[in-house]
Symmetry: C2
Subunit: 114 residues, 2 copies
């Protein structure tokens, strides 16, 4: 398994962020991570529970989120520990993530619109 790539903060491109979050499934994943109190583990099959997403697709979603700069992933034993890079990101693109999550009605603590 090749090592996971994470872009440096200054290399994060707005188009990659928007593209990553233009897929409701990825937004759901991201919102879940953003809502998790501690840097949330996301065990692929278990945590995205209700929806049935093939694991290769799920793995790919995480890859897109990771390589766009939205999340940080780190192996923790057998599992993967994922956390958002929202603090960093908000520094680089002020208000962006919040506005997007609000638009989706999925800001942690808000009712889900879709």
């Amino acid at each position: 398994m090749r090592p996971l790539f994470h872009p440096a903060l200054e290399d994060i491109k707005p188009e990659a962020i928007l593209y990553a979050l233009s897929d409701p499934e990825r937004v759901a994943i991201y919102a879940k991570l953003a809502g998790a109190s501690s840097g949330g583990t996301c065990s692929a099959l278990a945590d995205l529970g209700d929806r049935v997403i093939p694991k290769s697709s799920l793995s790919n979603h995480f890859k897109v989120l990771r390589e766009s700069g939205l999340i940080m992933s780190e192996r923790q034993g057998v599992e993967m520990r994922n956390q958002t890079r929202c603090t960093e990101l908000d520094e680089r693109f002020p208000g962006l993530i919040k506005a997007i999550l609000t638009a989706y009605g999925q800001l942690p603590g808000q009712p889900k619109t879709d």
Copy 2:
């Protein structure tokens, strides 16, 4: 030519907005319209000047922007008059468009980053 489709405000989907604006070429078009003082005409070949974009591609970019709800297009004689729906949109998704344009560094009056 079939009549141009514009989604009603309440039918506008965040994923469509993000997708439309995940392409730098479309962002450039949109930013140009947003910057135009009066509801700007956008004559495809002339106004996007420096870049050479095939006109079928350009037409398609406008279609994506239109059907996502970002712009309004209306035939005015031979040309097409396009304008942003930013006021409406900001009502529906507060702060979203501004945050996106800021992220791209293309808010009217800001220097272009990329």
